[in-house]
Amino acid sequence: MVEITIRKRPRSEAVVTQRKFFKKTARGKVIKVLRERYLRDDVGCGIQSCQECTESCTPQANHLVMSGPDHGLFPDGHFLLPDTNVFLSQMDLLESPLFRPPIILLQTVIEEVRHRSLPLYNRLKALMAMDEKSIWVFYNEYRSETAVIREENETPNDRNDRGIRKAAAWYTTHLNTNVRGKAPKKPPTIVLLTEDAANRQKAEKDGLVTLSVRKYVEAMNDASQLLDLLASESEEIEPTRAASGKQFLYDEYLPSATLIGGVKAGQLHQGHFNANQYNYLEGSVSVPAFSKPVLLIGRENMNRATNGDIVVVEVFPEDEWKAPADEVVDQDSTLKNDDVESGDEDDGEDLVARVESKVVEYEKRDAEKQPTGKVVGVIKRLWRPYVCHIDSTSLTSSNATSLSVQTVFATPVSRLLPRIRMRTRQAPSLIGQKILVSIDRWDVTSRYPEGHFVRALGKVESKEAEQESLLLEFDVPYRPFGKAILDCLPKEGEQWVVPQKSDASPEWRDRQDLRDLNICSIDPPGCQDIDDALHARLLPNGNIEAGVHIADVSHFVHADTPMDNEAASRGTTVYLVDKRIDMLPALLGTNLCSLRPFVERLAFSAIWEMTPDADIVNVRFTKSVIASKAAFTYEEAQIRKDDANQKDALTEGIRLLNTIAIKLKAKRMAAGALNLASPEVKIHLDSSESSDPIDVEQKEMRETNSLVEEFMLLANISVAQKIQETFPQTAVLRRHMPPPKTNFEKLQDILMKRKGLALDVSSSGALAASLDKCLDPTEPAFNTLVRIMATRCMLSAEYFCSGSVARDTFGHYGLASPIYTHFTSPIRRYADVLAHRQLSAAIGYSPLHPSLHSKPHVERILGVVNKRHRMAQMAGRASVEFYVGLALKGREERVQKSGAGAVTEEAFVIRTFRNGLGVFVSSLGIEGLVMFKKDLQFDAENYTLSIPKPGSADLVAISVFDKVTVRIEVEKDKNTQRGRVKMTLLSPVDSKDM
């Protein structure tokens, strides 16, 4: 037994053992907190071969092996002892697999990191858990030799620095006495790594070995790769350049306490910064105080905010309010000539300023004025690694073997972000690659944010690089499932089957045997994760029994297991055109839970009894065992239903389902449900292996699509009612808030002016009715177009916890249902899994896990799921866009081969700018911009742009909703290799040379 010594001190030594500090609570109270600390002499140093600490109390102690002789400065081996600022600024370096010297992590450092930045603290925790890193946590505050107390008038920072130095000094003497190198060798060195020059000076005075991170890395053997990972640190890199010589491009941010004070007093406003994708010099912030978002015009007013940041804005007096620009301003073309190095001096500066100031000038249109302001502070940065391309024109030397440091521009793939300036040694080799860049800082003296290279993803347009960049860009977790998660799967693996029916079997407890029913599933072609199956039959009393059977995922995924936690953090399965990123391991998703035909599967069934008019008589929910009789595609099911010769029970079932579905839909529409539209296209892939897209076509909607949809809606609504009744505080529901009327103002105006049509947005029913009247007899696609535009005006649906919002906001606007949830796809959506657990508890099948009784817990999970859901949708859309681009390229090549010139498509004008048109190509489902080099005659009130006909003085007017023909080309940006779809007008006017 190891002897444990704990020494309690008398109160007379309170000043040493007690740590007192004040805390201000959110409610403005000040609390005094007292911490007692016990010092001990047996906190192990963690170094292997240390004679003194081998016997120490930590069981897995002493694993830290000194580094080999591979570092130039320390041939006798060394240990790194990093200061807090190393973790705060150089986390990317420490996370790199190439960086693996033994690290001594002090408790003081961990606590300081946690205090300064929670995300970095989480990364640090992950770092500590990594197997390939050798890190020893030393509890210096608890070891009697290394504990420090704050001295009079010492700042917390100084105290921590002193503590770190003291620990380094202790380690040095500790190694000298206890760890002997082999005979002639010296003991290994303790290297205090810090970016703080003052701290280094003090440490040197104390006789410690200390280095800056840059100096340390430079002396490493594989320095060049690691140097790029270093965050740019202005003082360290360019100590010669005087700060006073720099021109201040931006205003300093206000201190954060002032911001909070201003927001509380209502003089400042807080919100998310949204960059404008058409105009890089404009952004907006939605704040609760104004119905319209606050407009930020120009670089100075956007003041270094990047998309998604939580910022605080000051609103100008009303006479300075402006209207948003009606012009497309493209960063790439406007800033073509900006020199990378010109952050400080240069005349390139003036040029940029002049170009931009011209762009920022606005004519004042009173009608569309909205609150205008400027960013005065950033509450929270949303910086993450961004996928970028290197701008080849910003390279000073394109010699591929040159290893000199160059400053280059990295252009993010997303149009919402500014260019990032970074320094790298590998610039030439990174051209034509997709790379990951993270932003370090954005100084008031620098026009662009400064960042550093994280890693390369691969060649531009290679599938792997594009796919990974997509997943990274939308923050989709795509790592393979870990062992702990896979251990949660049934041991039988693929061989798992529903056991023989018996009373003793736990699987069969309280389960209904529905194996005899004629159940089938209807899904898109190639669907592997079959969530749902259906059946319907006539009852002897003339009523109809219809059943929806959902995969019983909650039987396999139990609450609070590693698999459950992973699924909760993934939130949803993400579908890309050629890849699916599963929420649950494939064994469950595509096999054990998937309701495949001809095998017995566990299910959760909702069974209704309905009158022939589709009025619900009653509904019951039960766990069941089913055996699906067939898995149809929508098309197969449709053919089978329409084929009058087929008279078997399965087909009759489908027909019965269909008749009810039609009645259900009619009822829903009568209640005011919206028939919305979004551009959906289907990508034809050559074969499943090569995944080269051949062509694009619009998705076809069949009767059977609607059949399945109706029953899923019905099941979701019934389940929502049930779980809300049983768990009024924590039921997992989904709602769609009615959109604010102002969202529709512009669309209403356009419709009225262009087509003389009125849109009634007073309720979803009124909107549905007036959308039905939006017809253009000459243009059948017009209605769909309006529907798409109306959809864009709406809010997005969200999951919520029933106890968190008022009862009267539960409604689903689009479906015109007072209550709704998601129940029918538990394999691919996590919210459904929660709904399953709650329903299961509601019918008394299983007790509810305590976490689902806790409102904050449910709210937190649903917050994650909502975010993931949004991201997954955007990732899916971006994936389609990428493949449309590829398909277009393929088509372009074929067309060119056949000598026809170029790909042309019909398109609708959906937006007009002073120098361009926004068009929508419905056959491809893409939006594009037609840009003109010069300003044209533009009538903003009537959304009309007048274009001169080449060779004549006549003007052709083009307005919103007009049908035009566009020429579509895929061109690569010469500098950044960024592929983009370029459209030019073909008719009524050829705009090729304009």
């Binding site: 000043v15 007192k20 201000k24 403005g28 000040v30 911001l259």
Partner: protein, 334 residues
């Protein structure tokens, strides 16, 4: 305090002893001698200031004597909740039932109330109000609650209470705050919050003509969450009490509990520095104004003595708790 009941014989014995020439007291003290006192500050680490005071405790076994525990606590108070711009001081006295085993709970409450009234009316008097209890003018301020607990009573409770209160208030540290405001300035970046350091609010810089000036500060922040803060303003002003116990023909100081039973009248003189802050007469006896005049003069001398003794002890305590303790710590580490 007329608390313990003693027999007539006993009472007569004490009274005769006191009026002897030279006077004789039970414990051999002269009439103006105090019993031994002990004082320790910082006894309650979670309080903003605290002290423990004993009078007449047996130095060998630590038994007997009057024992008071005093602690101050600062709370943030908004004006809507009844705070005022200058902050407030609220005092309360609690009697431990163990200190008065013979009193019923109702009597104990009455006693507490009496004591609280004397202490509170004296200490919360505007003339003594510390200047640095403000946080945000017009919005928030500190509420200083001083709680005194009588752990045991062996006489002379008023003097003890005032001394303990003074020690705790001396020890009190007010966390340094800075208020946060937002002022929009035309044409330039908005100015940040203006720091405020205790009392020296610089008023001369702003124009006296500007009558519209309102304060926009909405909230405050702590300057340094590790720092205990600054001492209470005017901490050397807090008053002390000298209690004269009057028996026919003579008077004496620092009565024990039995001696109190003999005294017909108690006269309390409360001095802040050298000015009279309060005076009270307790008991059925009578006193002439000429008598009071001479008592007052005498009381002032005593009060000055006690005050200087207390001050030097309090300074000793500060040194003991900070400097000496850290020295001892670093010595041990060597």
């Amino acid at each position: 305090m007329a608390s313990s009941s003693i027999s007539k014989a006993e009472s007569a014995y004490i009274e005769v002893g006191l009026s002897e020439q030279p006077p004789q007291r039970l414990d051999g003290r002269a009439l103006t001698d105090y019993r031994a006192m002990s004082l320790e500050t910082g006894t309650a680490p979670l309080a903003n200031g605290s002290a423990r005071l004993t009078i007449g405790r047996n130095p060998h076994d630590g038994s007997g004597g009057t024992e008071i525990l005093a602690a101050t606590k600062l709370e943030v108070e908004t004006n809507e909740d009844g705070g005022s711009d200058q902050g407030r001081v609220v005092c309360s006295v609690t009697c431990s039932p163990a200190a008065y085993p013979h009193l019923s709970s109702n009597a104990l409450e009455d006693l507490q109330h009496d004591l609280t009234t004397v202490i509170h009316t004296t200490l919360s008097h505007p003339s003594l109000h510390p200047d640095n209890l403000k946080i945000i003018p017009g919005k928030k301020s500190w509420l200083l609650s001083l709680d005194l607990v009588i752990l045991s009573d062996a006489g002379n409770i008023y003097d003890a209470l005032f001394m303990a209160a003074r020690a705790a208030l001396w020890d009190t540290k007010v966390p340094r705050t800075r208020f946060i405001e937002y002022k929009a300035k035309k044409g330039g970046p908005a100015s940040g919050g203006k720091g405020r350091d205790g009392m020296d609010v610089d008023e001369t810089a702003t124009s006296g003509f500007d009558t519209r000036k309102t304060n926009h500060a909405t909230d405050f922040e702590l300057l340094d969450y590790w720092d205990e803060g600054e001492v209470l303003d005017g901490r050397e002003r807090w008053p002390l009490c000298v209690t004269f116990n009057l028996v026919p023909k003579t008077h004496f100081l620092d009565a024990t509990q039995v001696e109190e039973a003999v005294a017909v009248l108690k006269v309390l003189f409360i001095f802040a520095s050298s000015s009279v802050q309060g005076m009270r007469m307790l008991g059925p006896g009578e006193v002439t104004s000429a008598q009071i005049k001479s008592l007052l003069k005498e009381a002032e001398t005593h009060s000055r003595n006690i005050s200087s003794a207390l001050d030097s002890k309090l300074k000793d305590e500060d040194v003991r708790r900070n400097q000496k303790a850290s020295e001892a710590f670093s010595q041990q580490r060597r």
